[in-house]
């Protein structure tokens, strides 16, 4: 309870969000759901009252599209924002690190590839505010897919002002995992990247292995000569 009171929503009365409980014909507690936890107890449309802009953005975004048009399960407000314990006054880095975990819970491949990318390394792991977190590209609440170059370019241009269309061909989430078969172009690119990685990995290994063993046997021989001389 204390944690709730100290959160951003701490001053709201329970009924301000959970008003459906007071509606006619609704039993509370609902005997069917007794002893179960269900996020669906809460209607995400309630958030609009205080956060109209965020709500509108959410409706325009991919998550809402999946939910409304495709009638599939998709995260609503509460899934990402732990409504009862939303902390206020967090810095950009704190939010960003938390966001990486939160988005990564459902998008683990994207989280991994993001953290392998320069953006993720500097932003999430080294706490550099000027680098990009998830929503800086995908949009807060809209959560756009950036698979189309033209859409992605707009995201790139937020920071890289002079970026042109080819700039958006850069693959941030470079992994074969989770790429659909229809995305022929991305699959091709990811394969090229993989082979370059393997090729250069081998080069590094071979050169270092050769010279390390060269150095090592040299040391051995010298040590041997020195020991012999001492006798």
């Amino acid at each position: 309870m204390g944690q709730f009171l100290s959160s951003s929503h701490g001053r709201l009365a329970c009924s301000e969000c959970h008003s459906d409980i007071e509606e006619k014909g609704v039993k509370h507690p609902d005997p069917k759901l007794l002893g179960r936890i269900s996020t669906l107890l809460f209607d995400y449309k309630k958030c609009e009252k205080c956060h109209p802009q965020e709500y509108q953005r959410y409706l325009r975004g991919t998550h809402a599209k999946v939910l409304v048009e495709w009638k599939k399960n998709a995260p609503t407000c509460g899934n990402c924002h732990v409504t009862h314990y939303v902390l206020s006054g967090q810095s950009r880095v704190e939010l960003g690190v938390w966001m990486t975990e939160m988005c990564g819970a459902c998008h683990p491949v994207e989280k991994r590839t993001y953290l392998e990318n320069y953006h993720g390394k500097s932003a999430a792991l080294l706490g550099y505010e000027a680098s990009a977190y998830c929503t800086d590209c995908h949009g807060a609440h809209t959560c756009l897919s950036l698979k189309k170059k033209e859409v992605a370019l707009e995201a790139c241009q937020k920071c890289h002002i002079n970026a042109k269309i080819r700039f958006a061909e850069f693959v941030i989430h470079a992994s074969e995992e989770g790429v659909k078969k229809e995305e022929v172009e991305k699959l091709k690119k990811v394969k090229v990247i993989k082979w370059v990685e393997i090729g250069f990995g081998i080069l590094v290994f071979v050169v270092l292995a050769f010279f390390y063993s060269h150095t090592f046997v040299w040391m051995l021989r010298k040590a041997h000569e020195w020991l012999k001389k001492r006798d």
Binding site: S8, H9, G10, R11, L12, C50, S88, G89, L115, N117, Y118, K121, S122, L125, L126, G127, Y128, E129, A130, S131, H160, I161, N162, A163, K164, R166, F167, A168, E169, F170, V171, A174, K189, V192, I193, V196, E197, F200, G201, L203, V204, V207, L208, F211, Y212, H214, T215, V217, W218, M219, L220, R221, K222, A223, H224, E225, W226
Partner: protein, 716 residues
């Protein structure tokens, strides 16, 4: 057996240029590694600590890019040297002294490995062993792969214009992998092979001192020793004829480490802080339905109203607007945001609240706008409205709060297009009331730095022509010097240059640098020798030269300060042409020069017979300097008159202000004359700069040089 005497003989191994490149490479490579590694392994336990050392990712990136730039620089320098070596010095590409791999290197490697395995004696190495050759060529490899991919990642926008985006993925992989290879190679293989191996441990000094003694050569490069003994003329050339110099390696490394690319971390933090405070002060809408929002909102108001001295005038009487925060906290309203009731604050009484542009934006350098613009408010130029006026109270040029008769709203952020030079014409036109000259004058360029805090620009014809002439003069003199022959006429220019480089290196990294510092202060700054000769000559000399030197020094310091702390209001104050302390100093120094010039002319008139030879030239130079000073003061007077600076400030320019009063007596349109006066001043300066290397005045540069060289040579 080789005798002891031969064993102590010393030979050249690396010339001063090679050593210089190696030193620069060493420092930049370490810099690149220490800034790159934490980004390659950000989740390692040391990554965050290391990145903090550089002041965050941004600072590390800055140092990384500086080091990278220097890396490209030394690489190009080296290539130029190779061309020079091949084309001018007619050096050989192949042979025993070459770094080009040969069949012998493969054989050496084979025999060396056999030796490691205990199957025979080690091979006889030449001047450069196979691993040394590999080290050398590895730099080419590194520059191509790491440097090339690094460039792509440095300027992605540019490269994406003609290369596909997937290249960034590839460049990233290559940069990261090859850098790991380079670090893994240099810090283990190179360090062991070159310095730590038995017989060399702990350090092969030759790459820093350039020298190798006979014993070391016989030991490490026996084939080379053989080769030298077969060619005595070559041996003689390689022999070092002087004592070994003291090597201040630690000094060198320390010096590079303390280079100005460090310690730039703080400004960004400051900017962030300022931004937070300033933008959020007004642009944040706190959520008044939450506790936090109410508190934030109240705190915002209390920021000003919590102070004791806030007041406004009602019918001429001051009314306090101060609120005691503690008392307010006891009222029933303490949980209600001020703006719940005072909902008109954003429009009515706070309309005149000014946002300081300077808290986010730096001040302009002289290269963008002349110093008198420090009396012009940002918005006067930057707002698209053309109507400006001089604030009668402060004397500053401000934006009239009307545009075409319509009042400008406080929220108007329309900015002028500075790509269009006509923007400046909103002040700089005939009959303007602001005192702006009718022409937009070029920025004070590099040639002005002798006396003014100018910019590092070179855009106007006067500066360009005079500087070109100056450089031609200097170049001609130096070429002339290098044509001189000392004793043995067989020295080529290359040998002379290398000898000078070698000498400079030996002096800089030895105790002699302290002797040089002493000579610099006593003989060059304080003119000890002239004082010894004649007091009057010293006085006149000092009156002219010390003020010039001080003004140059001040200009240089201000240039550095303004580029290091562009946000600092203190620096901006120093650069203000009307800042009493500085304007007084400048006027005083200028007056000293004029007195010195008069003194010099009088001395020459009195002692005419003795000085007949150089008199003509002297009068030209003295006349030029005098004219520069006079026009300078006249232009200053015109500026003070035109811009109408408050008397209290203007009084400090004790030369310029009386002149401005004098000029005011004539009913001439000075704003038309001003640009001509300014240009005459500039052209005279240009003429002096261009004439300098051709006249006796060249001693300004030569005398200190001669004194230093003499001191370095050990003469007392």
């Amino acid at each position: 057996m080789v005798g002891k005497e031969i064993q102590t003989e010393v030979y050249w191994r690396f010339n001063v240029f090679h050593r210089f490149i190696h030193l620069v490479m060493m420092v930049t490579f370490i810099g690149l590694a220490l800034t790159g590694l934490p980004i390659k392994y950000p989740d390692a336990f040391w990554a965050r600590g290391l990145i903090l050392l550089w002041g965050g990712v941004k600072g590390a990136g800055l140092v990384h890019r500086w080091c990278a730039g220097i890396t490209f620089g030394y690489f190009v320098l080296h290539l130029l040297y190779v061309f020079y070596y091949l084309l001018v010095l007619k050096g050989k590409l192949l042979g025993p002294d070459s770094l080009v791999p040969s069949l012998k290197d493969v054989q050496d490697l084979y025999h060396h490995i056999r030796y490691f395995l205990g199957k025979g004696a080690p091979p006889q190495f030449g001047r450069f062993t196979y691993w040394e050759k590999f080290d050398y060529w590895a730099v080419f490899w590194g520059i191509a792969f790491i440097g090339g991919s690094g460039l792509v990642l440095w300027f992605p926008e540019f490269f994406s214009r003609f290369l596909p985006g997937i290249l960034f993925n590839i460049a990233y992989t290559i940069h990261s992998d090859e850098a790991l290879l380079a670090i893994g190679f240099v810090f283990i293989v190179h360090l062991y092979n070159a310095h730590l191996r038995a017989g060399v441990f702990p350090l092969d000094k030759s790459i820093f001192s350039g020298k190798i003694d006979a014993k070391e050569m016989m030991d490490r490069h026996p084939r080379e020793w053989e080769d030298l003994n077969q060619h005595p003329e070559k041996k003689e050339m390689r022999r070092v004829r002087q004592d070994l110099l003291m090597l201040f390696l630690i000094l060198a490394v320390g010096g590079f480490y303390a280079s100005p690319s460090f310690g730039r971390g703080l400004t960004d933090e400051e900017i962030m802080e300022a931004e937070k405070k300033l933008c959020w002060k007004c642009h944040r809408q706190p959520n008044l339905n939450s506790n936090e929002g109410i508190v934030t909102s109240i705190l915002l108001c209390m920021d000003c109203h919590g102070k004791k001295d806030v007041e406004k005038k009602v019918d001429g009487k001051p009314v306090s607007l101060s609120i005691d925060e503690k008392e307010y906290g006891k009222t029933v309203h303490r949980r209600i945001a001020c703006i719940r009731c005072h909902d008109g604050v954003a429009t009515s009484p706070h309309r005149t609240t000014l946002i300081e542009c300077a808290s986010c934006h730096g001040y302009h350098g002289e290269g963008t706008a002349h110093d008198p613009h420090r009396r012009v408010n940002c918005e006067a130029c930057h707002h698209e409205s053309k109507e400006v006026m001089k604030d009668p109270k402060t004397g500053r040029v401000v934006l009239k709060m009307v545009k075409d008769g319509v009042p400008i709203k406080m929220t108007s952020h329309r900015l002028a297009d500075f790509g269009d030079k006509k923007t400046c014409e909103k002040c700089h036109f005939t009959d303007n009331l602001l005192g702006a000259p009718i022409r937009v004058l070029p920025a004070k360029s590099l040639i002005c730095i002798g006396c003014h805090s100018s910019s590092v620009t070179l855009n106007d014809p006067v500066s360009i022509v005079s500087l070109i002439l100056f450089i031609i003069g200097i170049g001609a003199t130096f070429t002339f010097w290098f044509q001189g022959e000392v004793g043995d006429p067989s020295f080529s220019s290359h040998e002379k240059l290398s000898y000078i480089g070698e000498k400079a290196w030996q002096v800089i990294f030895s105790k002699k640098i302290f002797t040089l510092l002493k000579v610099f202060v006593l003989d060059i700054l304080l003119l000890r020798r002239i004082l010894k000769e004649s007091v009057s000559r010293w006085t006149i000399h000092s009156l002219i030269y010390i003020p010039f030197f001080l003004r140059f020094f001040i200009g240089l310091i201000f240039l550095l300060l303004s580029s290091a702390f562009p946000m600092s209001p203190q620096v901006a104050l120093l650069l203000d042409k009307n800042y009493p302390f500085m304007t007084f100093t400048y006027d005083l120094l200028g007056l000293c020069i004029i007195i010195g010039i008069i003194g010099a002319i009088m001395r020459r008139v009195q002692e005419k017979p003795q000085r007949a030879i150089s008199t003509g030239q002297d009068y030209v130079v003295l006349g030029l300097i005098g004219a520069i000073l006079l026009t300078g003061f006249l232009v200053e007077g015109m500026r003070i008159l035109l811009t109408g600076i408050p008397v209290s400030d203007a009084l400090a320019s004790f030369m310029g202000y009386p002149i401005s009063l004098l000029l005011g007596l004539f009913s001439i349109r000075w704003e038309v004359v001003y640009p001509y006066g300014w240009y005459i001043h500039a052209i005279l300066t240009g003429a002096l700069v261009a004439y300098l290397p051709f006249s006796k005045m060249f001693h300004i540069l030569v005398s200190p040089l001669v004194l230093l060289i003499k001191a370095a040579g050990g003469e007392k």
